[in-house]
Symmetry: C2
Subunit: 395 residues, 2 copies
């Protein structure tokens, strides 16, 4: 492999896409596979597709593909639903494993839906649970013998700050807490080794760095020794041991398939399954090193030209995911100007401009060009200049 | 409109498809729309698709389309997730509305996942709840002042038996219970008027009679006067009042959008949205009458030729949905023989052969041909005759 792998993607002309941390671009081959799933599979095999086209086995099969990217063994990851639902499943299972504890610990940088799902679960259980959030750097010390579960996103969606997965997992488990990692900004972005980390659960989405498409299904990992102990809170029929026995009582499948809920979204699964194939050619260590090099080049060039921008991402690459964020008072307008010039990043309230560095389809020239446009916008105060925006894409 | 509307569907040659109650066939135009969603929307607008292509508003927009088919006003239905998840949401909300009651009442003919999701919710709440199931005909009399929620599927997936939605809703509400209807085998199959029925919640799937494709998203209806009272148990970020404020605390949207959870499956939503357009041309009363006429013709022809088959569906059309089921000891093998001859129905353990009558793409000739093949298989004992199966499709 030699990065980048631009030829694997359908990238529009004139676009520098620094937002793969929000929605990955379309990999080549996906459109054809989805079309075949619609026309040949659904259209011609009809109900027979569930077996003949492998639709029923797809969530496990695709889960194994995701597992290979995050250090999870075969049979420990299954796809389905959305990340919010998977957070709920993992957290409900974790609380059931620590019935005498009442605190869920997270951090203030966690993605809001993770916190919301915890709030909802707490209300549902109505048994004195508390969601405690502390600053990211205070998490490890906040874990104590009241902590039932530690629920964190490895890479902060806003700042790119990266937790030490191994160390926090160890601290959680030393205190008897269950560890749940959300890999939304990790899977496909950096090296993850769930087996080495030893966490009980992990969840993530596939529409960011894994390029599965808008609304691609989520994943959940259950540590293999726990599989048969997890009682699914969302006890859907496709998590049943024998769904087509139509047993009136629920018996969970003797595998990670018990974390399945309802009928899987076949068209989305098909897009994702095809999108994941390109990872066969990727060395994750090389990807990570290249991403850091691109990020550092971007930081250096932007800081040289724009002293008004404040880097809100950690300066040390080892403490950062695959994205770089700058705070800027007029960040929203500036991002609109950048987008008008073909540099696609995104904005996160109140003032964060966020840029993702995915070496699958970005190289040094792209990063230099993006930094130059950002510098121009900020240095020359062009964020609210319609004439500048009308100049259109830069490349 | 004149039924059938076969020209609206991509139906394979040589197939008599009597399984639209399991997975509807591919409507024309869907493949092109999905292809455009992949190539133009995802491929070219990338992250911009959420606003520019209307992806973010799609679950509500499509919900309104479904709502028109089930007597639900605008803004009372929203799409997302799977039916299992929607059952969970409705049931959790219902229990919260009756905090002093501890019984969920359902029937033994309910689809298993509805019962499983109730079991899971009960375990999660761990507060003395009970799931009570009685025979379908005993439901109305089993409702009492302990009943928090009555949760029923209007049309029995196995027998086609149809509940009296208005009467049972009235009985439930007279006893102070909350009524939840699962419309899996109703939406697009028969006339449903949720407003007239007055039930609090309804849920359903869209891959059966609504032809949304394999894994198409589910829907949930909340009676408009309750919208602002429902506390979502699955408190996902897209149900938040302002998801992009990234508020650390959850505040539900002031609309049925609060029942949204995570990122919607855009490709599936697009397939469904296109598939729903054909309903603009359908008169539901005519559809229902035609479905009953086709069903009765099928019953008459099959019973005349196959006295060994036992009709397990109600004989009275008014008490039946859009499907007809026969019990037969060798039902599994017989269904395989039928499928080999191009007559696609399905089998539900232990001994039920199930046939759906969807006048959108079936006419009297189709039904006569299907009945003739079924008669041949049963009368001549051909269900395990490989030579017969090798004859291939009948039409």
């Amino acid at each position: 492999m030699t990065l980048p792998l631009k030829h694997f993607f359908e990238l529009p002309e004139g676009i520098l896409y620094l937002d793969g941390n929000s929605l990955g671009p379309l990999p080549k081959g996906v459109a054809e596979k989805v079309q075949a799933a619609v026309m040949q599979e659904w259209g011609e095999t009809l109900i027979g597709g569930w077996n003949q086209c492998g639709w029923m086995a797809q969530p496990g099969r695709v889960g194994d593909r995701v597992g290979r990217l995050i250090g999870a063994p075969e049979g420990s990851v299954v796809m389905g639903d959305t990340l919010s639902i998977k957070v709920f499943q993992a957290l409900a299972a974790a609380l059931a494993m620590r019935p005498d504890r009442r605190v869920i610990l997270s951090d203030t940088g966690n993605f809001p839906t993770d916190l919301y799902m915890a709030e909802g679960l707490i209300a549902l259980k109505n048994a004195g649970y508390t969601l405690r959030t502390v600053a990211p750097e205070d998490v490890a010390d906040a874990i104590d013998h009241q902590t039932a579960a530690v629920m964190l996103t490895e890479v902060d969606y806003r700042t790119g700050r990266k937790h030490d997965m191994t160390e926090i997992t160890r601290r959680a488990q030393d205190a008897g807490a269950v560890m749940i990692w959300d890999l939304a900004h990790s899977a496909g972005a950096l090296e993850v080794d769930l087996t080495a980390a030893g966490c009980e659960f992990a969840v993530g989405c596939t529409y960011k760095y894994l390029n599965g498409g808008p609304g691609a299904p989520a994943f959940i990992y259950v540590r293999p020794d726990l599989t048969l102990k997890v009682e699914p809170a969302l006890a859907g029929w496709l998590g049943h041991r024998a769904p087509f026995d139509f047993d009136p009582s629920y018996t969970p499948a003797p595998s990670v398939e018990r974390m399945r809920v309802g009928t899987p979204p076949v068209l989305q699964m098909t897009a994702l399954e095809e999108a994941l194939k390109l990872w066969d050619d990727v060395d994750m260590a090389e990807l990570r090193q290249t991403s850091l090099a691109l990020s550092e080049m971007f930081i250096a060039e932007v800081e040289a030209g724009c002293p008004d921008l404040q880097l809100v991402s950690p300066r040390d690459g080892a403490q950062r995911g695959s994205q770089v964020s700058f705070a800027f008072e007029h960040g929203y307008a500036a991002m609109q100007a950048l987008i008008a010039r073909g540099v696609i990043g995104d904005f996160r309230a109140p003032d964060v401009m966020r840029f993702g560095f995915t070496p699958l389809y970005l190289d040094e020239n792209d990063v230099r060009a993006a930094a130059a446009i950002l510098t121009e916008v900020i240095r020359d105060g062009l964020w609210d200049d319609p004439a500048y925006q009308r100049k259109g894409a830069v490349t």
